[in-house]
């Protein structure tokens, strides 16, 4: 496998996980950008732990699950049922706060970045195992009673509340899972690139993941599986002078999709019809 293809596959997988990290809380109408801050926290922690304390990769991944989950859970106690714009601003504030701390902390390399993260054998396999594991859990969630409750909440907040849906607990669960995914992505990205820069965890990252989610379709988990490889891969084929306009292309695409086809390319109806064609009669779930 060529090095370019290896990086394409690895980074695509990381973007799929990050877009899912946004997809899950958006099931209840919350754009939880805090996962990107969690990505930075866990990425830097894992990198430091592996380089300075000699932690094995498996332990670093476990720590990412613990730290990412704990940070998101503690925050979700306050914003589990908060409106979307409050969750957005908490996420952005976290991102700026963490970025500022990293930039000013010499131990983490400051603005120059953190180098010398050890290489891990079989990282691509591990990354895709995590993608499959996370995908399976999200699929199960979407088909569960909780997933249906999230759908009801997205359509009508008041009706869902009156039907007995515990909005706060649902929001907390999804935000915590999102935080764990963010943490795992931070570690995977750090060990893939063998270095980390605070500039990576900013608006650009938010914009990329958001575009993948909304262009692919935010109503099903399958949308990002289509949009992540396309949106990440196609600009790589362009000449460098066009590829450098990637974020502008993402911005235009994002706006166009929201105005023309707000549910994105892959909709629930499309998934339902595709399943029906492939497997005959199918149970309509989430």
């Amino acid at each position: 496998m060529s090095l370019a293809f290896y990086y394409f596959l690895s980074i695509t997988a990381i973007y799929i996980l990050m877009s899912w990290a946004l997809y899950l809380p958006y099931r209840v109408g919350q754009l939880h950008f805090m996962s990107i801050a969690n990505m930075a926290i866990c990425g830097y922690f894992g990198a430091y732990a592996a380089k300075s304390w000699g932690w094995p990769f498996a332990l670093v991944l476990l720590a990412a699950v613990g730290i990412g989950g704990a940070v998101a859970f503690i925050t979700s106690l306050a914003i589990g049922d908060a409106p979307c714009f409050t969750v957005v601003i908490v996420g952005f504030t976290y991102i700026f706060l963490i970025k500022t701390v990293i930039e000013n902390w010499d131990l983490l390399g400051g603005t120059m970045g953190f180098f010398g993260i050890p290489r891990v054998k079989g990282l691509l396999l591990i990354t895709y195992s995590i993608v499959f594991g996370a995908g399976f859990l999200i699929h199960r969630f979407d088909r569960s009673a909780l997933g249906r409750a999230a759908s009801a909440f997205f359509v009508d907040r008041d009706l869902a509340k009156s039907s007995g849906v515990d909005i706060k607990k649902l929001g907390m669960l999804l935000q915590t899972f999102s935080g764990i995914l963010g943490g795992l992505c931070g570690v995977l990205y750090g060990f893939l690139m063998n270095n980390l820069f605070p500039e990576f965890f900013t608006f650009g990252m938010v914009g990329t993941c958001m575009t993948m989610l909304f262009v692919g379709g935010y109503t099903t988990m399958w949308g990002v599986l289509v949009s992540a490889p396309l949106l990440w891969g196609i600009p790589l084929l362009f000449p460098p002078e066009i590829a450098s306009w990637r974020i502008i292309i993402y911005g235009v695409l994002l706006i166009a999709v929201l105005v023309i086809k707000p549910e994105g390319i892959i909709t629930r109806k499309l998934v339902y019809n595709a399943k029906k064609k492939l497997f005959g009669r199918t149970k309509r779930t989430s």
Partner: protein
């Protein structure tokens, strides 16, 4: 004590800019029901346009100002159809969609500024625009031209805005739509036209803010819009979304807090403190201190 007084003066000038931005942001939120997160990025874009015109015209202040205001109004009005299409149903989820559209606009503006303008380098305004000259100096306490202009023009602009809102027919139409768009339509208020007017007025506020920021800071960078956008939305949430008077108080308080931390803490650690305080307040009071209008 001298540092404290000097920083409070700095903070008041900075706070008046935040107030202008929050007022424009809240106007669109109340009347057009959109969360224009990237409004500060539009303001920074106007600063860049002013800078280009100033360079091209040999620092003609009037043309620079007109170009800044014109570009801000133009962007706000030109993007209105995008938001209006998304808010047609006027439901909670649609408000979120407007925020995502606005984030998209912000992405495009920031990336354009960092690619195409001044080869991505920050811009610096000429001496006759940037009000760095000290008007009053007592030891460490210094009041610059920029601070005086920012405070005075910010105060006048906000006062004029509140007069329009509470003393004119147009202002009554704005407030009626903010209270109940359906009833406003029934009473004969042209909702679409008033909505477009709110975009234009927000653009005007944006242009004035761009001028004041140019005078106060004397420079701008592509990333400036992002950090200001974050603070403006945070001020708006802490005050209570759509609460104009609350935005006025919290905007000034944030400006003073930011200036004080800059006075006593080194480097960008002061930013971390400001973001930390904002985060704690939002986590404790996610629905705002003064209560929201939405």
């Amino acid at each position: 004590m001298e540092v404290f007084v000097a920083q409070v003066i700095n903070g008041l000038a900075l706070g008046s800019i935040y107030v202008l931005l929050v007022t424009g942001f809240n106007l669109l939120l109340l009347v057009a029901l959109i969360i224009h997160f990237s409004f500060p990025q539009v303001v920074v874009f106007s600063m860049y346009i002013s800078w280009i015109v100033l360079k091209a015209t040999g620092n003609n202040m009037l043309l620079g100002f007109l170009a800044g205001v014109g570009s801000s109004v133009l962007i706000c009005v030109a993007t209105a159809p995008l938001f209006q299409r998304a808010t047609r149903k006027r439901r909670g989820v649609d408000i979120n969609t407007t925020m995502v559209i606005s984030l998209g606009i912000g992405m495009i503006i920031t990336e354009l500024l960092s690619h195409e303008f001044n080869e991505g380098f920050p811009i610096a305004f000429p001496e006759n625009v940037a009000g760095r000259k000290a008007l009053v100096q007592f030891g460490l306490i210094s009041i610059s031209e920029g601070q005086v202009y920012a405070l005075a023009a910010g105060g006048v602009a906000v006062l004029a805005f509140f007069l329009i809102l509470y003393r004119t027919r147009m202002g009554r139409a704005f407030r009626a739509i903010a209270e109940d768009p359906q009833n406003a339509r029934l009473t004969g208020i042209p909702v679409l036209k008033t909505g477009i007017l709110s975009y234009a007025l927000t653009g005007l506020l944006g242009g004035i803010t761009a001028l004041l920021l140019s005078i106060l800071l004397g420079s701008a960078s592509a990333g400036l819009g992002e950090s200001v956008a974050l603070k403006v939305l945070a001020v708006s949430i802490i005050a209570g979304l759509g609460n104009l008077k609350g935005g006025l108080i919290i905007g000034i308080l944030l400006g003073v807090l930011e200036a004080l931390t800059q006075g006593y803490l080194s480097g960008s650690w002061s930013n971390a403190v400001v973001f930390g305080v904002m985060l704690i307040v939002i986590l404790i009071k996610p629905k705002g201190v003064f209560g929201g209008r939405l």
